[in-house]
Structures are given as structure tokens and as C-alpha cells.
């Protein structure tokens, strides 16, 4: 027992001193105490900014978040149309969802008290269902210096502009294994890119196979939707990347390079062994006109369904624009051949140098086959529509590219003007730079208005193509020498469009220039050539602005004729043609095997 001390008896009475102090507690509800400025309170969501990627749902460790459809909100390109719904019976307010939100739309208010008599109210969609804290100050926000997402892309090794100019070698080297894994791990698997891709490739799926180093499975996934994976891995217009949710805060995933990485890992001779496509013949025949990406894609998918497929191609080799329109520094021939060889190895019969309408009549194909698919592409260059354009030194961009691809001399000379701002113009200019010409690109509008891929424009600039923008060609004249040509062009002023369209260039008559070149390459667009179609079939086909109108499955009003590729879709790129080929195969199969029309 402790010894009793007087101090120990008196000292506790100190307690009484506190009787005179004010209470520490708040007098709620008279005094409200707001949460701290960074308090993790109730959720708020900027419904306009949110794209419904569902990353919050993925990271939520309590399964408190569900992505649900919302009234008045429909899915569109880059937006799933879903929004996160929270279940406050499960939420633990850890704010991982806020930290990982790919658009920073999901945030928290600093409100922490809420009473309601309806238990269903605790399951709500922030930003859609009105809540008392919607007007409260914001609470927790992700610190900008910290991110759970990886926003930077590993730098791709490429040939320098100087090295590129000396050869037709591929400019982009492709990812190293380390880079590929880093890049693949940036994916949040939201699937928004799948909806955007015209061929609806299983992008998160094959990216996952890179993380898991299972390239064989990756190849199988690629070939489910796209028999041109090696090609698309190089030259696809990658609209998937434009919609990648990571692009809201950082650099989008290099989906195209990752696809290329998978195909680069597997040699062509292993394709058959890995893909193991087994074909059961069904005895029906389909003719395909044009061995470009659209035609061969249709051939591939039809062949897998057991159809006997004959492809008619006017050129010496298959590939269409991929071979004759895309220069080898962007798409080397062996990469393209890898894809085409596999398609042909499935038993697709192909007739080279057989122009439909000349060597064989379309009517014969129509009568001898159960269905006909054609994707003949846009291969007739559009005219400049100025005086003197029939000068022999005015060449077409397509012809120059075709000549170079066929290893013929395009005969452009040493000083070249390219007119146009699309991919063909850029490619023609860069090809001319590689064969030693000085190149000036004349374009009616500004650089930001150019329809060419930004990468192509950048690389053309790096390769020292001279860009003259807001330049409208006016007249082409003979020069003193037969090997030269003179062009008159005027500076243009951009005038805002009153109807809200993009600004249009207006020629300034007083600012005219006259230049002389060895040749002028016109690359302002292409049109289709349908002279091979018999008149009665042509009558049945509906076209609008030079493009055929087709059903979802590429069927025309003639139920036996299917059309795809650049002549049927607005986007006019390889991946759309490939998607058309797949759709047509589905449509043809529906019609022939099930005996039904397509929608």
C-alpha cells in the first residue's frame, strides 16, 4: 500500500478549476462545423466530364460502385453512356475512385452528415440524383503531384529525319520488350476503345496478353477480328487512341504499336500452328473484286465460314492501297505480305492482273457465284480543276506512290510542288524527299486544317518538306523547258464561316506568286471507278456523295451484291475496310446459310 502524501490528497482537487471553462463541444445544429478543405466527404461527379470508363468500379475494393445507364445519356464515341452509381451501404470513403478517375470528374464534397428516411436513397448516381451536398464546397481532391495512373508513354525509337531521308527503311522501330510491358500496363481495361474501333478489336484483351507475355493468345485474339494485324499495327489511323481514356489526363496508350509488337513477336511460319483455323467447306461460292484490305478481309472471314472464295485483282500483287499507296518506310512489304500470305494460305484463290470489266465480266461473276463483294477503292485522282492541269509535268500523287512501290522511277525531277494536305500528299512529298527532290507542299488552308495524320505532318516537317499554307493554285502554264512547269498561286485569307462551319480560304487577288517546278504532284483527293459494273446492276445501287449506301452488313439493294471499303464508308481507312469485310462476311453468311436478308 502506497504511503499517503498530503500532496496526493490535495492535488486532484485541481479538477475543479476546469468548472469555469467553456465547453469544447459544438452546439449543433446552431453551430455547424464544416469538414476540412480536403475532407473525404460525399461524392460528386461532373456528369459532362465523366466518360463512364468504369475505372472507379474496377478499383473499388468494396464493390460499392456500379456503372449504370442514365436517363438522357446515350453511348457515343468515347463515352460508354454509363455513370457510376454508389452504394453508401458499402462505401468506405477511401477515395481510390477519386484518385484513379481518368477524367478527374469524380470528386468529393466536404459534407459528412446526411439523414434520410429512405434507405434506397443511399444508392445514388452522383451528378444525376440531386443531393443536399451538391452545392457544398469540394473536399478531397487528388493532389496533382500524385497519380495512380501512368500518364506518360515510353519514347518510341525511330529513325532520325536525316537517316530516314536516305532510305525507304521503316521509320518506327517498334517497342522493346521492356517498353511494351510498361506501355501495356498503362491500360485500365475500360473497353471504350473497343466500341470506337471500326473492327471492334478486343484491345484490352490483347494488351493483357502482352503483360502476361502470352503472344500466341494475343495473336489469336487479333485474328478474331482483324486479319491485317501486322499492317494495322503500323499504319492504322488508330481512332482507338483518340478515345483512350488515359488521353484525358495524359498520353493515350500506343494501342497501334502494341498490336504491332504482338505480331512482330511471332514469325509468319508459326501463324498456322498457333491460329489452327479449321475450315469446313459449305459448297457455296463468293466472288470478291479487289484484293485490298476490304476484299481480303471479307475473303478471310468468308473462308473461315467455309465459302469458296475467288478474289479478282487488277494489279500484280495483292494489298491494294496498302501496297501501292502506303510507302514502305511506313509499311514494309514483308509486314504486309505476312498478313496476306496467311489469308491466302487458308485456300483463298486469287486471280492477279485480272481486271473485272476487261478480262472478266462482272455479270459472269454475278451469275456464277452465290454472292459478290466488291471493295475496289478510290483510285481515280481528283483533278485540280484549274486551267492547264493537263500539262504533262502535272502528276498524280497516287501514281507517284504506285511507281515508287513498284520500283519504277516516277520521274519527278529535283524540285517538286505537292498540292494537297492529306495523307497521300504527305506520302508523295516524303517519297520525293527520299528520291532526292526538294519538296514544297501547297495547301489551301492552315496546317491544323490538314486532313493528314498529325504524325505524318510532323515527320514531313522533320524531313524538311517546305510547307506553304493558305496557298490557292490558280493557273498552270508551260515553262521554257519541257521538263519544267510553272504554277501561279495566290495567298489566301481565312474567313470565318457564318454558318459555324470551319473557316474557308479566300483568295487575295493582289498577292499572287509564280513559281517554276520540275513537276507538280496533285494530291487533293480520289474518286472511285465503277465502269466495270453492268448498267442494270449500277441502277440498283444507291450512292450518296460518291459513296454507296449499304446496310449494317454491307448489303446493297441487290441482295446478292455487297460493297465495302473506301467506296462505301465515310472514314476511308484500312481498319474501316477491314471491318466492312468482316461485316460483309457476316451478312453474306446470313443471307446464304440462313436464307434471310440483313438489316
Amino acid at each position: 500500500m502506497p504511503k499517503m502524501k498530503l500532496k496526493d490528497i490535495i492535488s486532484p482537487f485541481y479538477v475543479w478549476q476546469r468548472s469555469f471553462e467553456k465547453p469544447y463541444t459544438n452546439n449543433k445544429p446552431i453551430d455547424e462545423r464544416p469538414g476540412a478543405p480536403s475532407y473525404r466527404g460525399f461524392h460528386v461527379n461532373d456528369i459532362e466530364k465523366c466518360v463512364g470508363c468504369g475505372t472507379c468500379e474496377t478499383i473499388c475494393m468494396n464493390n460499392a460502385i456500379d456503372m449504370v445507364p442514365v436517363e438522357n445519356l446515350t453511348a457515343q464515341v468515347g463515352d460508354s453512356g454509363l455513370r457510376p452509381r454508389f452504394d453508401y451501404g458499402r462505401c468506405c470513403w477511401c477515395a481510390l475512385c477519386v484518385d484513379i478517375c481518368t477524367t478527374s470528374s469524380l470528386r468529393m464534397s466536404n459534407e459528412y452528415a446526411w439523414v434520410t428516411d429512405n434507405p434506397d436513397d443511399f444508392r445514388f448516381t452522383p451528378g444525376v440524383d440531386e443531393k443536399p451536398w451538391d452545392d457544398h464546397p469540394l473536399g478531397y481532391r487528388r493532389d496533382p503531384d500524385y497519380s495512380l495512373l501512368k500518364l506518360e508513354r515510353p519514347a518510341m525509337t525511330m529513325l532520325s529525319a536525316e537517316e530516314g531521308l536516305n532510305s525507304f527503311d521503316e521509320v518506327v522501330h517498334g517497342f522493346t520488350p521492356e517498353q511494351a510491358i510498361v506501355e501495356a500496363s498503362r491500360c485500365v481495361e475500360c473497353n471504350i476503345c473497343v466500341a470506337t474501333c471500326p473492327a471492334h478489336m478486343n484491345i484490352p484483351g490483347y494488351i493483357k496478353t502482352i503483360r502476361e507475355q502470352d503472344f500466341e493468345q494475343g495473336l489469336r485474339l487479333l485474328y478474331e477480328t482483324n486479319p491485317f494485324s501486322s499492317t494495322c499495327g503500323r499504319i492504322c489511323t488508330h481512332r482507338c487512341e483518340d478515345d483512350c481514356v488515359i488521353s484525358h489526363l495524359g498520353k493515350p496508350l500506343a494501342i497501334r504499336w502494341l498490336k504491332r509488337y504482338i505480331t512482330d513477336q511471332i514469325p509468319a511460319e508459326k501463324y498456322q500452328q498457333i491460329l489452327q483455323h479449321k475450315i469446313t467447306e459449305n459448297g457455296k461460292k463468293v466472288a470478291i473484286v479487289g484484293a485490298g484490305p476490304g476484299g481480303l478481309s471479307a475473303a478471310y472471314f468468308l473462308r473461315l465460314k467455309g465459302y469458296q472464295v475467288s478474289v479478282y485483282e487488277s494489279a500484280e500483287k495483292a494489298g491494294g492501297m496498302l501496297r501501292y499507296g502506303v510507302p514502305t518506310y511506313r509499311l514494309p512489304d514483308d509486314a504486309l505480305d505476312k498478313d496476306i500470305d496467311y489469308i491466302l494460305s487458308l485456300g483463298v484463290s486469287i486471280h492477279y492482273q485480272t481486271t473485272v470489266g476487261k478480262e472478266i465480266d462482272f455479270q459472269v461473276l454475278y451469275d456464277e457465284n452465290d454472292a459478290v463483294f466488291f471493295s475496289t477503292g478510290l483510285n481515280v485522282p481528283s483533278g485540280l480543276r484549274i486551267k492547264g492541269e493537263d500539262h504533262p509535268r502535272v502528276l498524280s500523287g497516287l501514281q507517284v506512290l504506285c511507281d515508287v512501290a513498284s520500283q519504277r522511277d516516277p520521274g519527278v525531277g529535283k524540285k517538286v510542288a505537292v498540292i494537297g494536305g492529306g495523307n497521300v500528299a504527305m506520302d508523295a512529298a516524303r517519297v520525293c524527299r527520299r528520291i532526292g527532290a526538294e519538296v514544297t507542299i501547297l495547301y489551301r488552308r492552315r496546317i491544323e486544317d490538314m486532313p493528314a495524320d498529325p504524325e505524318e505532318i510532323e515527320e514531313a516537317q522533320a524531313e524538311k518538306c517546305k510547307f506553304v499554307t493558305q496557298a490557292i493554285p490558280g493557273l498552270i502554264e508551260k515553262a521554257k523547258s519541257l521538263k519544267q512547269v510553272v504554277i501561279q498561286w495566290g495567298e489566301a485569307e481565312m474567313v470565318a464561316d457564318d454558318n459555324g462551319g470551319r473557316p474557308r480560304p479566300v483568295l487575295q487577288e493582289d498577292k499572287m506568286h509564280t513559281d517554276s517546278y520540275d513537276c507538280i504532284i496533285s494530291a487533293i483527293g480520289q474518286a472511285g471507278n465503277y465502269s466495270f459494273l453492268p448498267e442494270d446492276i449500277k441502277q440498283q445501287l444507291v450512292s450518296q456523295r460518291g459513296k454507296f449506301t449499304v446496310s449494317n452488313h454491307q448489303q446493297t439493294s441487290n441482295t446478292k451484291v455487297f460493297i465495302g471499303g473506301d467506296i462505301a464508308n465515310k472514314t476511308a481507312d484500312a481498319i474501316s475496310a477491314i471491318a466492312d469485310g468482316q461485316n460483309a462476311a457476316i451478312g453474306i453468311d446470313e443471307v446464304l446459310s440462313l436464307g434471310m436478308g440483313t438489316k
Binding site: S11, P12, Y146
Partner: protein
């Protein structure tokens, strides 16, 4: 041949008395009892008002954390661990992060290390204040409980500002911490520290210089020196027994080696001494918090670069990390197999022995009115037992 377990041992629990003799009454102390820390239960057999036998029962709390964590990705686990010690979650957050950082070889930026120490020491102080209130309450001084919980709330206000939450901070994440200090935060910490020091001065007068408290706590629940290693007794409970062991000093982690402090030891090893050790450590924490505010770098990165946490495959490995929490050594044993999930995690909180075997031994022979005081003097958190 008798197996090892059948051989009698000097620390074997006493046999349960014969209830049919009519001398004993069995009563349940807890799980709903203000004198119990957290939700656990003591099954007491009493003879008159003297405890003849004590058996502990757990199972009234959230359980199964370790298994739960095997089913969550690495980032999803960090909001789970804080629940393993409700009044003191920061140590769990730190240890979980430290284990991953060690296996994945992540280097934590310096600023993050200082912020972690600030967080942990504020946590220690808040936890001790809570304990001080509980301890006083258990010995009948509920007024002191009001005081200390008030000041704990002021620290929670600081947490709210620093981390975004009052209790489950979820601030220390694998790789660093989640945010920088807000503007003017240091000044507010210093102000709260002033208040805490004043409070401690008052508590010394009212609690430690109180004849009644001394009468009840001195000589209560004496832990003998030979029990320490045998039972795995750690923290203030062993320091009150004269062992100079403190992980912050013995195996410094974070930036504790840059802080100036002495390990507090006493020798009496009873409930009063244990309280006194903790009381001195509170002063020490206040001093450490001031040192941290003084020495910590002004700027810099507070979070290491992590892979995308949605596909985070921590490399295969195993590790044991430990830290000194208010109750002693807290350990995390983690095994990873290179996948996106933990293969196994084992969490060893100090309460595991303190609240079960030590309690069962010390409770025998004491007055039933002192059971609550004894339990609190061991400073136990039942969720650690049932993690």
C-alpha cells in the same frame, strides 16, 4: 511418453476451479462493458470479490482481415488494413506499405518519410490520449476522460486536414503518402501540441498525484521479468519492467534516427508504472512532433513512381517488417508470388498476447473491481487478436 504439450510449465494457466463446490460464481465481463477495451469478453470465475480464474473470449468484432486481403489487389488492401487497430490505424497503413516497398524495392521519397513520422507520432499521441481517458475512467475518474478525448479530437481535426479523414486516414500508401501538408498546418500542429502539454500537466496533478489512483493501481498486475520473453510482452508493458527496448531506437526505421529521444524505462512493472511510462512517452511524442516539423524538408516529391496499380504485380518475395506502435512491436509478415494478389499475409499485433495469455495470468487473484483497470493498463485492441 508424454508429448511436449503435456509437460507442465511454470506459466501454464491455472486450472479452472471446481464450480460444483459452491464457492465460486461465474460472471461474464464484456463484450458490452465499458471497462473492456473494444469488443471482447472475459469469463471470470470469482470467489467473493476475488478473481479465481479468467478466460478470454474473442469473436465479437470484424475478423478475417488476412484472408480478405488475399482476395484484393495490392492497392485495394491499403484501405483494409487501417481497420485492424481502430484507434490507431496509421501503424497498420505504414507497415503494409513498408512490406510492399521492401519486396518491390520501392524507394520512398524523403519528404514522404518525414510526413509518415509526423503522421505516426500524431497517431501515437492520439492513441495514448484515448488510452489515458480509458484508463482514468476505469479507475473511476471519468472527468479526465472528457479532457483527454477533447484533445484527441483536436488531433483528429489535424488528421482531417492532413489526410482527409479523422479515424481511417488512408494516408500512408505504398510508395509514399497521399498528399502534402496543407498551408499553415505546422502552426496549427504546434498550437494543438501546446494544448496537449497543458493537459498533460493537469493530468499529472489529477491522476498521477492522486492517492486513490495510486492506492488502486500500484501493485496491480505486476509483470515479472521472466514473463517478458516467455509471453512475448512488448512496448510500454516491458519498458515498465526495466527492459530498454524500443524499435525506434534499436532498429530505426523511416527517419527516427534523426530524432532526439531517450527510451523511457521504469522498474516497478505494475499498472501505475505502465501508465507512468506511457505518460512520459506522450511528452516524448510531443517533442518528436516538434522536431519533425522543424527538420522536415520544405518541398519535394511525396510519392514514389508506382506501376499502374490496376495491374500491379509485386515481385515474388517474403518479408517481415515491424514498427513500434503505442503497444509495442507490430509486425507484418508478407509473402508474394509475383501475381496481382498477396499469397499470404500474417499480422502480429501486440495485443495478441497482452489481451489473452497475459490477461488470463494477471487477472487471477485480483479484486473484480480492478479487472477493468488491469485490462486497460495492458493497453489492448481486440481487432488485432482477430485480424
Amino acid at each position: 511418453m508424454p508429448s511436449i504439450s503435456q509437460q507442465p510449465h511454470k506459466f501454464d494457466p491455472p486450472l479452472e476451479p471446481d464450480l460444483t463446490s459452491g464457492k465460486y460464481v461465474k460472471i461474464w465481463h464484456g463484450p458490452q462493458h465499458p471497462g473492456i477495451t473494444g469488443n471482447m469478453s472475459l469469463e471470470l470465475t470469482i470467489c467473493g470479490d476475488e478473481v479465481a480464474h479468467c478466460k478470454t473470449h474473442v469473436g465479437y468484432l470484424h475478423r478475417g482481415f488476412e484472408k480478405l486481403m488475399e482476395r484484393r489487389t495490392f492497392i485495394q488492401n491499403f484501405p483494409v488494413v487501417c481497420r485492424i487497430a481502430v484507434p490507431e490505424p496509421a501503424f497498420n497503413e505504414y507497415l503494409y506499405a513498408a512490406a510492399i516497398e521492401e519486396i518491390a524495392e520501392i524507394e520512398v521519397p524523403e519528404l514522404a518519410q518525414w510526413l509518415r513520422v509526423l503522421n505516426l507520432e500524431l497517431m501515437r499521441l492520439a492513441s495514448y490520449l484515448m488510452w489515458l481517458g480509458g484508463s482514468s475512467g476505469s479507475f473511476g475518474m471519468t472527468t479526465v476522460y472528457q479532457w483527454t478525448v477533447t484533445h484527441r479530437d483536436y488531433i483528429l481535426d489535424l488528421f482531417e486536414e492532413m489526410t482527409g479523414a479523422r479515424i481511417y486516414h488512408m494516408y500512408i500508401t505504398p510508395g509514399g503518402v497521399r498528399a502534402k501538408l496543407p498551408e499553415g498546418f505546422k502552426g496549427r500542429v504546434l498550437k494543438v501540441m501546446q494544448g496537449v502539454e497543458k493537459l498533460l500537466y493537469e493530468v499529472e496533478k489529477v491522476v498521477f498525484n492522486n492517492h486513490v489512483f495510486k492506492l488502486r493501481s500500484q501493485g496491480l498486475g505486476i509483470i515479472s521479468k521472466d514473463m517478458i520473453d516467455e509471453y512475448g510482452i512488448v512496448g510500454p508493458n516491458q519498458r515498465a519492467c526495466g527492459f530498454e527496448r524500443d524499435l525506434r531506437k534499436d532498429q530505426p526505421y523511416l527517419v527516427y534516427d534523426q530524432l532526439d529521444f531517450e527510451v523511457v524505462t521504469e522498474t516497478e512493472s505494475d499498472a501505475y508504472t505502465r501508465a507512468w511510462v506511457r505518460y512520459q512517452e506522450m511528452h516524448q511524442s510531443v517533442s518528436m512532433i516538434r522536431q519533425v516539423l522543424d527538420k522536415m524538408p520544405e518541398g519535394g516529391s511525396f510519392h514514389a513512381d508506382l506501376p499502374n496499380v490496376l495491374h500491379w504485380n509485386v515481385p515474388a518475395g517474403e518479408t517481415y517488417v515491424k514498427a513500434e506502435c503505442t503497444r509495442g512491436e507490430y509486425g507484418y509478415y508478407m509473402v508474394t508470388d509475383g501475381s496481382e494478389y498477396l499469397q499470404r499475409i500474417h499480422i502480429r499485433g501486440p495485443s495478441y498476447t497482452h489481451a489473452v495469455s497475459v490477461m488470463e495470468k494477471l487477472a487471477v487473484g485480483i479484486n473484480i473491481a480492478d479487472v477493468a483497470g488491469l485490462m486497460v493498463s495492458l493497453h489492448t485492441y481486440p481487432p488485432e487478436i482477430e485480424r
